[in-house]
């Protein structure tokens, strides 16, 4: 082997490698070009809006835009005593400027979230502050217009809302608030509803998931084991709800379950009950209607996992002497676990975000988190709180999905048996 030969070899090798790399890159580009439309679509319709929501949960620039001088003057203030004359003068000048531009209500609205009654404080101040106060008298003038300007809490509220980002909405979504000294404390009991609301949302979703699993498992088994002709007919029945509007299905339950509805009338006619049962506008109605709506999402993954199980396994288990129940628990059930976990996760996460069904068939104590997100988004236009509730729900769901993934991992195919 001479030196020149080796170098020639080496250069061919380099050339080959380069060509290989080029070919691979062309492949990658082609692949990317194929998925590019989907990527762009997802970016615009999914990732973008979610990022926007998370941003809105901490964005807090409204007060800063309307009362810039006041926020600047309060930057040095330690919050222990009332602020000095300078801050009062800054506020007076801000309020007059905001009145001229018609933006005072935007700040009033935001401050009112933190301190109920702030809307009146600001609007009355803006209405009654006809002229700029003489130098040195701003404190006196403002306190005369509204005694709230003599309260430390009024000023700490403004300072807290100075932005540009805030934890206020996220704290509120967890029933927490900052007191006048800036420490994080529990929200007053009348306002503390969100933790129990999240708990309620998770409980309803879990019950619906459990109901779907109990009802869906036998149906899926039947579908997977019947001869094709009949199983196709049955499949049409499972898919029928997919082709009916959600609203129609929900209203059908109202017709069935109301006190003079089909179910109560039949029971009454049969002499089983004297007084109509309360089947709707309560938790029972919510669980029934949601289970009905979400059942196909449980049945389809179960069906596909059962379809893949060869009947020979159960026959083998029986011939080795396993009683039916043992064979089912040790051989059949473990093989359906991928379907069970996929179906359960799908139903649970869909149930978490359900809005129309609980709104229409639930009572006032059965509204889920989605109802409040919708309420704050559309009706009261408190987008900060709506986003914070959404962010907390998103985070809790991701955490649950991760924990769930860890739990079901490693026992899917083997059913816990080491292979």
């Amino acid at each position: 082997m001479t030196a020149s030969a080796t170098s020639a070899d080496a250069s061919t090798e380099v050339r080959l490698k380069r060509r290989l790399r080029r070919a691979e890159r062309a492949h990658q580009v082609k692949a990317l070009a194929l998925v590019a439309p989907l990527l762009v679509f997802l970016l615009f319709t999914f990732a973008g809006p979610i990022a926007g929501m998370l941003w809105r949960a901490v964005d807090d620039r409204e007060v800063r835009q309307v009362l810039p001088q006041t926020i600047a003057a309060l930057a040095e203030w330690d919050g222990k005593e009332l602020p000095d004359e300078k801050a009062y003068a800054a506020l007076a000048s801000d309020v007059q400027a905001a009145r001229a531009s018609g933006t005072i209500a935007i700040a009033a609205k935001r401050l009112n979230y933190a301190l109920n009654g702030f809307r009146t404080i600001l609007t009355s101040t803006s209405r009654n502050l006809k002229t700029a106060p003489e130098p040195g008298t701003a404190k006196e003038t403002l306190s005369k217009i509204n005694p709230a300007w003599r309260e430390r809490a009024t000023w700490t509220t403004i300072k807290d809302a100075g932005g540009p980002i805030t934890g206020f909405y996220l704290l509120a979504a967890l029933d927490l608030t900052r007191n006048v000294d800036g420490a994080i404390v529990a929200a007053p009991p009348d306002q503390a509803i969100y933790r129990s609301l999240f708990a309620r949302t998770f409980v309803i979703s879990l019950s619906v998931t459990a109901l779907c699993l109990i009802l869906g498992f036998p149906v899926a088994y039947l579908l997977a084991t019947l001869p094709p002709g009949r199983s196709n007919l049955l499949m049409i029945f499972v898919l029928l709800p997919f082709w009916t509007s959600l609203l129609v299905r929900t209203c059908a339950w109202i017709v069935l379950l109301q006190s003079k509805g089909v179910v109560n009338d039949s029971l009454h006619w049969l002499g089983i009950i004297d007084e109509p049962l309360r089947l709707i506008y309560n938790r029972f109605g919510v669980c029934v209607a949601m289970t009905h709506v979400l059942l196909p999402f449980m049945i389809l993954p179960l069906y596909s996992s059962m379809k893949a199980i060869s009947p020979a396994y159960m026959r083998a288990a029986a011939s080795l002497g396993a009683p039916p129940l043992t064979a089912f628990l040790r051989i059949y059930l473990p093989q359906t676990l991928p379907g069970v976990s996929a179906g359960s996760l799908l139903v649970f996460i869909l149930a978490l975000g359900y809005y129309i069904t609980p709104t229409l068939v639930g009572g006032a104590a059965d509204q889920m988190i989605s109802y409040f997100i919708a309420l704050y988004t559309t009706e009261t236009a408190n987008w900060g709180l709506a986003s914070a509730l959404g962010a907390v729900l998103l985070l809790a769901t991701i955490l649950l999905a991760l924990v769930y993934g860890k739990l079901v991992q490693g026992q899917q195919v083997t059913g816990g048996m080491k292979n």
Binding site: R25, A26, Q28, V29, L32, A33, A36, P37, L39, V40, F44, G102, A105, I106, K109, N112, Y113, N116, G117, R119, T120, P189, D190, Q191, A192, I193, S196, L197, R200, Q258, S259, K260, G261, Y281, T359, L360, G363, A364, A365, Q367, F372, L375, Y376, T377, T378, E379, T380, A381, N382, W383, L385
Partner: protein, 350 residues
């Protein structure tokens, strides 16, 4: 390099597509948005269709379920597909504060003097005046309820009742049932004791209340026998009686009234056509036709004078009916809605 080009191409394509959509949105017909249902059917008959015929202006109508957040999203999104929207009083107030509406130019719609005072607003013009009343089924109740006190009296009138889910209207009704005169309701409600008092009154029939969320639900709840009494928009009762041959009754005493207004969304490309429409819908002779279709009072001063007495007596604006009614206080609810909504839901979950 190649990769970047592909992505850039993708972005460019998306941009061109969205720009194309934008231009479509710019050159569109006048779009008027109202509340749907029987009410919008009546509006179609007396406003939309005749307006199209009379002026030759192309317009579509859509319906919505309210919420100032919806309007904010439309206007801030920069591609508002609506021009004229009918809004409730609190949407008018908040939207006006946030600059979501064009300033109303009254010179183009017949002048301020043509309208009743409560309907004149810098951001909008009143469309209808309507009430929340106590509604009941005459076929099912032997004795008619007299007012909200009877609504809370389950001994005198057994059965379930329905109220709107949320604090608004519910707390006022509870206070009136507890003996607060209609004119003092908001004074009492402005105090913490007043709020406690309202919730205590609600506690007395908590187990018998069904909560409704949309205006179409109360007549349906009455018709199906789910409840014996409900708070309800007066127009819905009237429509059920006329169109579905129901025998529902109303109690005007202690009713809560409010106004809906027309607004023009900020940056509407069809402003001129919008004003032409509002002028048409503001004329007394057109408004009186609406009251004949559906029992709402209207905003033009001369509209009531064109009505037959038989029609007038069932309107919220009839002197006997408005005598003991209270206007829903927008300022109060703007200040307190969040706090009282939380409190209401805390109470409901107990």
């Amino acid at each position: 390099m190649m990769k970047r080009k592909t992505i850039a191409l993708g972005f460019a394509a998306a941009f061109v597509a969205s720009a194309a959509l934008m231009t479509v949105a710019e050159a569109r017909d006048l779009t008027v948005v109202s509340w749907g249902g029987a009410y919008q059917d009546a509006q179609k008959k007396v406003y939309f269709e005749p307006f199209k015929k009379a002026t030759g202006i192309a317009m579509n109508d859509e319906s919505w379920d309210g919420g100032v957040g919806v309007l904010r999203a439309k206007v801030q999104g920069g591609a508002a597909t609506w021009d004229v929207v009918q809004v409730e009083s609190d949407e008018l107030a908040v939207g006006c504060e946030e600059g979501l509406f064009e300033k109303m130019d009254y010179t183009k719609i017949g002048g301020e003097a043509a309208y009743i005072p409560p309907s004149v607003n810098p951001c909008g013009v009143g469309a209808i005046l309507y009430d929340f009343v106590l509604g009941y089924d005459k076929d099912k109740l032997k004795e008619a309820p007299k007012g909200w006190a009877d609504f809370f009296d389950t001994k005198k009138i057994p059965g379930k009742r329905a109220l709107r889910q949320g604090p608004k209207t519910t707390l006022e009704i509870a206070l009136m049932a507890d003996g607060v005169p209609p004119k003092d309701v908001y004074q009492v409600l402005a105090t913490d004791d007043g709020v406690d008092r309202a919730f205590m009154k609600l506690d007395t029939i908590k187990g018998d209340i069904v909560w409704w969320k949309a205006g179409a639900q109360p007549p349906q709840l009455l018709a199906s026998g789910e409840v014996v009494m409900t708070s309800v928009y007066n127009g819905r009762i009237d429509t059920a009686n006329k169109n579905e041959k129901k025998n529902f009754g109303m109690v005007w005493d202690g009713a809560l009234f409010t106004l809906d207004s027309w607004v023009v969304l900020k940056g509407s490309p069809n402003k001129e056509a919008a004003y032409k429409f509002l002028d048409f819908a503001g004329k007394a002779e057109n408004q009186s036709k609406l009251s004949e279709q559906i029992a709402y009072g209207t905003s033009n001063k001369d509209a009531a004078g064109k009505l037959a007495p038989a029609v007038l007596k069932d309107l919220p604006t009839a002197p006997d009916n408005i005598k003991n009614a209270v206007e829903i206080n927008v300022a109060f609810w703007l200040e307190n809605i969040d706090r009282l909504t939380e409190r209401f839901n805390k109470w409901a979950a107990k």
